[in-house]
């Protein structure tokens, strides 16, 4: 009797052990490694109109990487947290990500990138922010800008104005956000002028939350301003160009005499500007390093297919901020892929090294940008090429070929 019970117990134990092995083995062998990353951004609150599609771009691309096994059995787990555009919340999110062992960090705003710069240095973690503020990379070894800085964008627009203006020295006003994000490029444009860029800055306007810019625009007209270069977000630009259209002072073609041509850097443009300003956005010149869906190509096809695959609405699918999110996720994935290919352990250090080695023949060409991504220990701006677009019949169209700033090299 005792022997029978023992035999039965032995058989039961054997069965249980077998069941445990059967259950665990597939996961143990097929699971691969999981690389953790973090993204903190404004999904709600100020600038969430940009942050929301950006987060979806990041989320969808990492899902795509995992679903299509771009990294084999290994997966990327990217935790995405809302920070409501508040540095204090970003810091909390960042600490949370660190607790969970991230190897790569994606940040968002200028304020939080500058505010957490010391933390990034201490933790030695590579960071790709959505902010292209040139000050982000000063005194930093770990922050990499995805594309050319705001300064480079605004200086490139200034160069475009100088190269295409007919007549005397062009008179330019700058319309900027009242923060480091807006003010940063002004100094670089002034340096470019000192270095020989033939234009005159007549006025620098720091906008508030005005709902009417009539007085400001009339003042600029009285000073014979022909161009307004904007470095801010879409809504104040939309208000201004609508007022300009109402006053009948918007140029119908670039540099039209007696009228004002409006131009803007990355965060001033995109489909959101057209939605906000309507017909008044016609002939607005916009610079960015991203491909956009109104100019179809392999990059935009991929963007739209990704959005369709993960059920995004048209607004998100066609947003340049969605492309922006995809692009940073692509860069993060690429450095993991390269480190894996070399048989290296995936860590903060190896990914940082891979970013620094992303130049020359190792430059990375994501389909969502107009030029290759290059980084080194001295070059922290990813895509150096910039494409100018202008609104024609309600959509942004390419103006010429991608350009790079000449004066930024001179003033560096």
């Amino acid at each position: 009797m005792g022997k029978t019970i023992r035999k039965n117990l032995f058989a039961l134990n054997l069965f249980l052990a077998f069941a445990v092995v059967v259950c665990i083995t597939p996961q143990a062998f097929a699971g691969g490694k999981v690389y953790k990353m973090g993204l903190s951004l404004a999904i709600t609150g100020p600038t969430s109109d940009a942050g929301n599609p950006y987060s979806k771009g990041v989320e969808d691309y990492f899902n795509y990487v995992n679903d299509t096994k771009l990294l084999g059995d290994d997966k990327i787990e990217c935790m995405i947290r809302d920070d409501q555009y508040q540095t204090a919340v970003t810091k909390r999110n960042f600490e949370d990500f660190l607790d969970q062992g991230i190897v790569f960090y994606l940040n968002y705003s200028t304020g939080s990138t500058l505010g957490l710069k010391r933390d990034f240095e201490e933790v030695q973690i590579p960071v790709l922010p959505a902010s292209f503020h040139a000050g982000n990379v000063e005194d930093s070894h770990y922050i990499f800008l995805p594309i050319a800085s705001y300064s480079e964008q605004v200086v490139s627009l200034s160069e475009y104005v100088v190269n295409n203006h007919k007549g005397d020295k062009p008179k330019v006003a700058m319309f900027i956000h009242p923060s480091a994000f807006g003010r940063g490029p002004v100094g670089d444009v002034e340096k470019s002028i000192a270095a020989g860029l033939n234009m005159e800055i007549v006025e620098v306007v720091e906008h508030g939350k005005d709902l009417d810019n009539t007085a400001m625009l009339q003042r600029l007209m009285s000073k014979n301003v022909q161009y307004v270069i904007c470095q801010t977000i879409q809504s104040p630009v939309a208000t201004m160009i609508k007022d300009a259209a109402r006053l009948g002072i918007s140029a119908n073609a670039f540099g039209e005499s007696g009228k004002i041509t409006f131009l803007g850097a990355h965060y001033t443009g995109g489909n959101d500007l057209i939605d906000l300003a309507g017909d008044a956005s016609e002939n607005f010149f916009w610079i960015t390093s991203y491909t956009i869906t109104s100019e179809p190509g392999p990059g935009t096809d991929f963007q739209l297919s990704l959005a369709k695959k993960y059920g995004r609405d048209d607004k998100a699918a066609n947003s340049h901020n969605y492309a922006n999110g995809i692009m940073v996720a692509q860069v993060a994935t690429e450095v993991v892929r390269r480190a894996k290919e070399k048989g290296l352990d995936i860590s903060k250090k190896t990914l940082h090294d891979e970013l620094n080695a992303m130049n020359g023949d190792n430059a990375y060409q994501p389909p969502t940008t107009v030029g290759p991504v290059t980084y080194s220990s001295t070059d922290r701006a990813g895509v150096d090429s910039l494409q100018i677009y202008a609104v024609k019949e309600g959509v942004f169209r390419k103006v010429g070929e991608p350009i790079t700033s000449q004066y930024m090299k001179k003033i560096k």
């Binding site: 709600t44 609150g45 969430s48 809302d82 919340v89 909390r92 010391r118 000050g135 480091a180 998100a316």
Partner: protein, 364 residues
């Protein structure tokens, strides 16, 4: 007074001194001591993640700030809608020194207790200056004066190069007996520092109301003409209330600068002033323990709403930015509900619980 100092079931005070005791019974004292001891030893027993430690530290800093706000608004009856600016003055006192002498200068890293007091004093000076209109203004007019200070403060920080135009000014890591306080110990270290500050401020405020200076605040709030007739100077009392409030706010700001290792304008905006006011209202205006309940409740609520908003933001279509509205909506709703149904705040619930347990198991 009841012969049994452990279990008093009613008020049996026979002298003013008895009435002014910090703890009515020994049991109260014992419970408070155990509670305090628990606050000091729990981080040694349970390791909390840095994230949660940061949340706890934030609540504690808000407690210091709301203690100050409660002094001026709750006890002295002067509405202040610029409290975050006073907190900012303290933070920018530390940050400005850091900018002038270097963020790793010995004054910043070694003499940080002095810097915290300096932050408080700067807040007190600003409080006294902003309080000057209280000599002539009352009610909503005074509220507007404090609001204008908030605006001036934000404008000054945002536009002056010295303050880095509102961007973060870094503050170095501090030194302790064991050397530099590193990343791993940072939040726990500041937890203890802030806790000690709270205990000191809490007892300070509690004892203040045993003195004529504290009672003058309440007297001026209740009827400044009567207070005047009783020999108090209502104007000076109001200015001094603002100065005292500014001191506590400044201390909170200095602690904030050290905790976040820097100061940036976005932590001291009008939105934060309203938050502090909400904390004081929800906690219970004119009560000491309300200053503890309010920050804890509002920050906890904020975290929960934040999670819901984030979730909604992930799943709602891009053109329906409803998630953004969720936070201010909840926030406003809580304040309105408290003002309507429990204007005495959570502190009143605490009073009810205490009075119930005091007579337990008897009903009356």
């Amino acid at each position: 007074m009841a012969s049994n100092r452990w279990l008093a079931t009613g008020n049996f005070f026979t002298t003013y001194q008895e009435e002014q005791r910090t703890f009515t019974t020994r049991l109260d004292q014992l419970i408070f001591s155990i509670f305090l001891l628990t606050l000091f030893i729990w981080p040694l027993l349970f390791e909390l993640s840095r994230t949660y430690m940061l949340v706890v530290d934030n609540i504690l800093i808000a407690v210091v700030a709301v203690l100050g706000l409660n002094l001026v608004t709750g006890f002295a009856g002067l509405i202040s809608i610029g409290h975050a600016a006073f907190v900012g003055v303290g933070a920018y006192t530390v940050a400005s020194c850091s900018r002038m002498i270097g963020d790793s200068h010995i004054i910043i890293t070694h003499l940080w207790p002095v810097m915290i007091i300096a932050g408080g004093l700067a807040g007190a000076v600003m409080g006294a200056i902003v309080g000057l209109p209280a000599l002539r203004l009352k009610h909503l007019y005074l509220a507007i004066a404090t609001l204008s200070f908030q605006m001036i403060f934000e404008w000054t920080i945002n536009f002056m190069a010295f303050f880095n135009q509102g961007q973060t000014i870094f503050v170095g890591r501090v030194m302790w007996l064991t050397g530099e306080v590193g990343r791993s110990d940072h939040y726990v270290f500041w937890y203890y520092v802030i806790l000690i500050v709270i205990v000191m401020c809490g007892f300070g405020v509690r004892n203040l109301f045993k003195t004529r200076y504290g009672r003058a605040l309440v007297a001026v709030r209740d009827n400044d003409r009567a207070a005047d007739a009783m020999g108090m100077h209502p104007g000076l009392t109001k200015v001094y209330a603002f100065a005292l409030s500014g001191f506590l706010a400044g201390v909170a700001g200095a602690l904030h600068a050290y905790l976040y290792r820097g100061a940036g304008i976005e932590s001291f905006t009008l939105h934060h002033s309203i938050s502090y006011l909400a904390m004081a209202i929800v906690g219970g205006l004119g009560t000491l323990n309300g200053s503890f309940w309010g920050p804890a409740a509002i920050q906890f609520l904020d975290l929960q709403v934040e999670n819901v908003a984030e979730l909604a933001g992930h799943y709602m279509p891009s053109n329906m930015n409803l998630a953004t509205a969720l936070r201010p909506l909840t926030f406003g709703l809580v304040i309105v509900l408290f003002l309507m149904f429990e204007p005495r705040g959570i502190a009143n619930w605490w009073r009810i619980v205490k009075s119930y347990t005091k007579t337990w198991p008897f009903r009356y």
